[in-house]
């Protein structure tokens, strides 16, 4: 049975619609784990081929986006296998999250050209297409090799190498202890082993944190400015846009109706959306969200909640604070220049980050920038910082991390060392996938380097 593969099959750029495609024998089952039809009577698994179903795509953290799932049954699909295409709103953040949900549900990242490859293998592309497919794979792999090379020279590679080195040494210690019981190998102390694992876990966690921050740097973050009327949303928007007017670059494929402005603030790219209302449209997917500023708020990766500091707190303000503080958010208490009479304590209690400013005069913009940097993790990044750059790299790290956690759990529960060893091998293998080596060989070599064993 072939693995289920998934990838974003539209351009990863702000656009009206984005599609995550899932293909394989169990594609519908995998998609069914992350898609909830709006109608409770229906299930994705029961959908016949060539049908669309409206609902929500979700992950462990909750709903990601409204979505239309298109179901294709083998052999009547592009790849000739069962295929589900999840059409979501176009933002890269939402698409990435959807893709990750598919991975946690059992899919694996599609290799370059893999959909086409499968289409060919399943007879959907004729024989004359074979060469073209191979060319495609070769071209893609050259590209990948080039970027892999960049990885080898980069800070990420060095970081990974350190982790790998420590894990390999731990595995070698363990293997030597186990494989040469009669030799003079020091007793393995599980406390020391756990310490090594803990360190690796921290490093990898750190890399993962920065992966998301790195994405903010590269692709921008879906940001929404909310607030009741006349608190200064538009002024803030203009300030942010105007502040950077000269270097605002519309991202290719930007549909200006959806992402109003793409703004670079320091190191951060914000894709700002207005909540004043979305356009009316005939598009079935898009129309679902129209007119519902709240849903926009829920979908955004970052919420800037604006309050009028010169007026007392209103009921609407409180409701907004309640809602937006559940998400990654920042509170802006505006109109500082007019004197602050709002209950700032109340707001500061609700939000992790609160900025007092005046959108009118620009006062406090720097603080906003700083707060945005902290909240998106960009502030923690520096130029020489290792950053995971692709979803595939991220997934390898995630898998490695899972194995390390399992190894630590085994140690905690006093499971024997052979099980711990297998978990560490798994962690090494996941990281080695980025360099194409194999755990068992690396570990065996390390044993002989480090230990005087043998008859």
């Amino acid at each position: 049975m072939d693995r289920v593969i998934a990838a974003i099959s539209t351009a990863v750029a702000p656009a009206g619609i984005g599609v995550v495609r899932i293909s394989g024998d169990r594609a519908i089952e995998v998609a069914g784990r992350i898609f909830r039809p709006a109608s409770k009577k229906r299930a994705l698994e029961d959908a016949p081929g060539y049908t669309a179903m409206y609902g929500w795509v979700f992950d462990a953290d909750g709903d990601i986006d409204e979505c239309v799932a298109l179901v294709f049954r083998a052999p009547h699909s592009y790849t000739g296998e069962d295929v589900v295409e999840l059409s979501c709103h176009g933002g890269p953040y939402l698409l990435q999250r959807t893709l990750r949900a598919a991975f946690s549900a059992g899919a694996v990242p599609a290799q370059p050209g893999e959909f086409t490859k499968r289409a060919f293998v399943n007879g959907k592309i004729d024989l004359t297409g074979a060469e073209a497919v191979m060319d495609l794979i070769t071209a893609n792999s050259r590209l990948a090799a080039k970027s892999a090379l960049a990885v080898r020279e980069g800070a990420l590679y060095r970081k990974m190498e350190t982790v790998l080195d420590e894990l390999t040494t731990a595995a070698a210690n363990l293997s030597a202890y186990v494989d040469f019981p009669d030799d003079d190998i020091p007793e393995l102390e599980s406390g020391a082993l756990d310490k090594t694992l803990k360190k690796a876990e921290e490093t990898l966690n750190n890399l993962l944190d920065k992966f998301d921050a790195g994405k903010v740097v590269r692709e921008g973050i879906d940001t929404v400015i909310v607030g009741r009327p006349n608190v200064g949303k538009s002024t803030l928007m203009n300030l942010l846009a105007g502040h950077e007017r000269s270097i605002v670059t519309p991202v290719a494929g930007t549909t200006r109706d959806i992402v109003e402005e793409t703004v670079r603030l320091g190191d951060i790219i914000l894709r700002l959306a207005d909540t004043a209302g979305l356009r009316k449209t005939d598009d079935s997917v898009e129309s679902i969200g129209v007119g519902r500023a709240e849903s926009r708020l829920e979908r955004a990766a970052l919420v800037i909640a604006v309050f009028d500091g010169s007026e007392p707190l209103t009921e609407d303000d409180c409701e907004l604070a309640e809602k937006s503080s559940r998400q990654t958010s920042i509170a802006v208490i505006n109109k500082k220049d007019k004197g602050i009479i709002i209950n700032t304590e109340y707001i500061k209690n609700k939000f992790k980050h609160t900025v007092l400013m005046s959108a009118e005069t620009g006062e406090g913009l720097e603080e906003l920038e700083k707060a945005l940097g902290e909240i998106t993790g960009v502030a923690a990044l520096s130029d020489n910082e290792p950053i995971l750059s692709t979803e595939r790299q991220r997934l390898c790290v995630v898998r490695s991390l899972e194995c390390i956690k399992e190894a630590r759990q085994a140690i905690r529960e006093s499971i024997t060392l052979d099980a711990v060893g297998v978990c560490i091998d798994g962690a090494i293998d996941a990281l080695l996938e980025l360099t194409g080596e194999r755990a068992t060989e690396t570990v065996v070599d390390r044993i002989f380097e480090r230990f005087c064993v043998g008859k």
């Binding site: 060919f120 074979a130 529960e413 755990a439 044993i447 043998g454």
Partner: protein, 628 residues
């Protein structure tokens, strides 16, 4: 040419641990078989340590036994001490290791060969082999000629053997036997790529010259656990081993005399033998290590020869004696046979397929040290596989290929034929990515059905196996269905084992899953339990305790088998497949993997190359379909 002395199905060259298994397997499967040895008195000889088993090696012996091979039964019959290594480190790495009476073992094996139907034994050196149509012609030093459909080369360290002791260099096989000096040339003429490996062995010392009071006694463990699933009689520990350590003085003497070693004196350039390092290698490579461990092992019940494990050397005899005498207990040691290094010819195993047949020489097989491995158990495992496959081919039956997920035997062979080796290859538990599944306790479950299909598992063994499986199934069901009420007795027991008491009924299976509990500890509260074979009990316990980990390994195994089922047909010219990178083309052409799984393990073959292969396979399949 001489006269034709015999025509056979299978001819085996060499009667060491590989040759013996190969010949027995082929003969038992009904093939007319002949086995050649330079000296009939060295059949199944142990020219190095007098022991069988050890980590991962013990697994191999169990696997050989489960398939219907001889080594496990023979080891049990001649065992003089036994230990289960790695207790407490986990079931995956529990390994049996036994001291063996080496002369008795050799006698046993010789008698086995002599009394096996379809098997002839010849004391002769094979000096030449050549093709004769679809068959092979063998010529011996006695100028007799043999014709065989299949030939298995299991030449050990005899092939081109050369012994080094200090300045001394002389042609010799192991243990003072003659070397086989002429066959290499014949193999080279055929076009087989031959290389030279080195190994070594320590001195044998006279027991009465050793002062054991200065050493640490290492007795066997009770009860003795047999290697073979079929050994029913109780075995006994009959000897002790002893442990001592080298001293600072030992190190000094070795360092002072390094120039007199063939290697450090610069007279030879040996690729480091990682698993069998000499004491001088250890002193040089691990210079900061103060002392090295030495095991003193008896070579048998009716001999005073003691094997000094850890002291292999190629230093001159006088230096050997000098440094041996710096070791506590060995102050007045008398050496009976000196340590030596031996160099020998072997093949590059990348020329072989997983059946151990040479890809370019149908009917020609290699096994054991000839294939670049080290160790009796590794040799026996390959001998068995080569013997079985030679016979199956002659009988017109499909080959027996053991994949990595089935066994350590499969792992060992896959490593050799896919990755090759640059120094003698030793099996280790860390070589297997599936080691929680490949345990010594379940070798029968993994391999006896395969052995049965092949034809080496007789009715009695099969019946015993099925009964064990039945008992296991019943007991698993009982453990799943038996619920213990939360009695005071149960909770007292749980608390005394430092695990949490229960307030509701609890299944036996769930109790067994707790790390603090085991079968034995639960005995007082599990009064209904049936009599169980200890092996079965062990299997059940491990399966329950490690269920989560085992499940994960099984998923990885499914993935492996999916790739292994995509066969790459024979005779592909990979340089003609567009899209493969050059390195991949070269490696694939050289190693010629049998399937995509094997291809994926070749270093230098990337996932993209694999994708190209999949597409290529697909287009090829379709082209063939449209033709037919």
């Amino acid at each position: 040419m001489g006269y034709i002395a015999g025509e056979y199905d299978v001819a085996v060259i060499g009667a060491g641990h590989a040759g013996v298994e190969a010949a027995l397997a082929a003969a038992r499967l009904g093939c007319a078989t002949v086995i050649f040895t330079i000296n009939l008195d060295s059949i199944g000889n142990m020219p190095c340590n007098p022991s069988i088993g050890g980590t991962a090696k013990g697994h191999l012996v169990r696997e050989i036994d489960a398939l219907g091979g001889e080594m496990g039964v023979a080891a049990d019959a001649n065992l003089i001490q036994c230990r289960m290594l790695n207790r407490g480190k986990g079931p995956a790495v529990h390994s049996l290791r036994a001291q063996i009476d080496r002369r008795e073992y050799s006698k046993y094996m010789k008698y086995r060969l002599e009394t096996t139907e379809n098997l002839d034994i010849q004391q002769a050196e094979v000096v030449k082999i050549e093709r004769l149509g679809e068959r092979w012609r063998l010529l011996t030093h006695l100028e007799t000629e043999y014709i065989a459909k299949a030939v298995i080369i299991a030449s050990g360290t005899y092939l081109g053997g050369k012994i080094y002791i200090g300045d001394l260099v002389y042609e010799s096989g192991p243990d003072g036997m003659f070397a086989a000096n002429r066959l290499t040339r014949s193999l080279s003429e055929l076009g087989i790529s031959i290389r030279r490996f080195k190994t070594g062995t320590p001195a044998r010392a006279l027991r009465s010259s050793i002062d054991f009071s200065k050493t640490e006694r290492q007795p066997g463990e009770e009860p003795v656990i047999p290697f073979s699933f079929e050994t029913k009689e109780k075995l006994e520990n009959r000897v002790d081993c002893h442990i001592t350590w080298t001293t600072r003085k030992t190190k000094e003497i070795i360092e002072k005399n390094l120039s007199r070693s063939p290697m450090y004196g610069g007279r030879v350039r040996w690729v480091g033998t990682r698993y069998c390092p000499s004491i001088e290698d250890k002193v040089v490579r691990f210079a900061d290590k103060e002392r090295h461990q030495v095991f003193i092992e008896p070579c048998g019940l009716h001999t005073e020869e003691m094997y000094l494990q850890g002291l292999s050397s190629s230093l001159p005899v006088d230096v050997q004696l000098e440094f041996y005498r710096t070791i506590p207990g060995l102050e007045n040691v008398k050496i009976m046979r000196p340590a030596y290094a031996i160099e020998y010819d072997c093949c590059d195993p990348l020329q072989l397929s997983a059946t151990l047949e040479f890809m370019d020489y149908p009917g020609l097989y290699g096994a054991g040290q000839f294939n670049g491995s080290s160790g009796y158990e590794e040799a026996a495992a390959q001998g068995l596989v080569a013997g079985i496959n030679a016979a199956l081919k002659i009988l017109g039956r499909p080959p027996m290929i053991l994949d990595r997920a089935s066994s350590y035997i499969g792992t060992l062979i896959d490593d050799l034929v896919t990755k090759g080796c640059s120094d003698p290859y030793r099996i280790m538990t860390s070589r297997s990515e599936y080691r929680l599944v490949l345990r010594q306790d379940n070798a029968d479950e993994r391999l006896t059905p395969i052995g049965r299909r092949v034809g080496l598992v007789d009715d009695l063994r099969w019946e015993n196996f099925r009964q064990r499986q039945e008992a296991k199934k019943r007991e698993r069901k009982r453990l799943k269905e038996t619920v213990l009420p939360p009695t005071e007795q149960l909770n007292r027991l749980l608390v005394s084992c430092e695990t949490t008491p229960v307030s509701t009924g609890v299944r036996l299976e769930d109790l067994l899953r707790r790390p603090q509990l085991d079968y034995q500890k639960l005995a007082p509260v599990d009064s209904q339990r049936p009599e169980l074979d200890p092996m079965v009990r062990e299997q059940i316990e491990v399966e329950i305790k490690y269920e989560g980990y085992i499940r994960r390994q099984r998923a990885a195994i499914d993935e492996l088998r999916r790739l292994e089922s995509r066969l790459l047909p024979d005779g592909i010219d990979y340089s003609e497949i567009k899209g493969l990178r050059k390195e991949a083309q070269e490696k694939l052409n050289r190693i010629r993997p049998a399937n995509l799984g094997q291809a994926s393990r070749i270093s230098g073959v990337s996932p993209a190359d694999l994708s190209v292969l999949v597409v290529w396979l697909g287009s090829r399949g379709r082209a063939e379909n449209s033709e037919s």
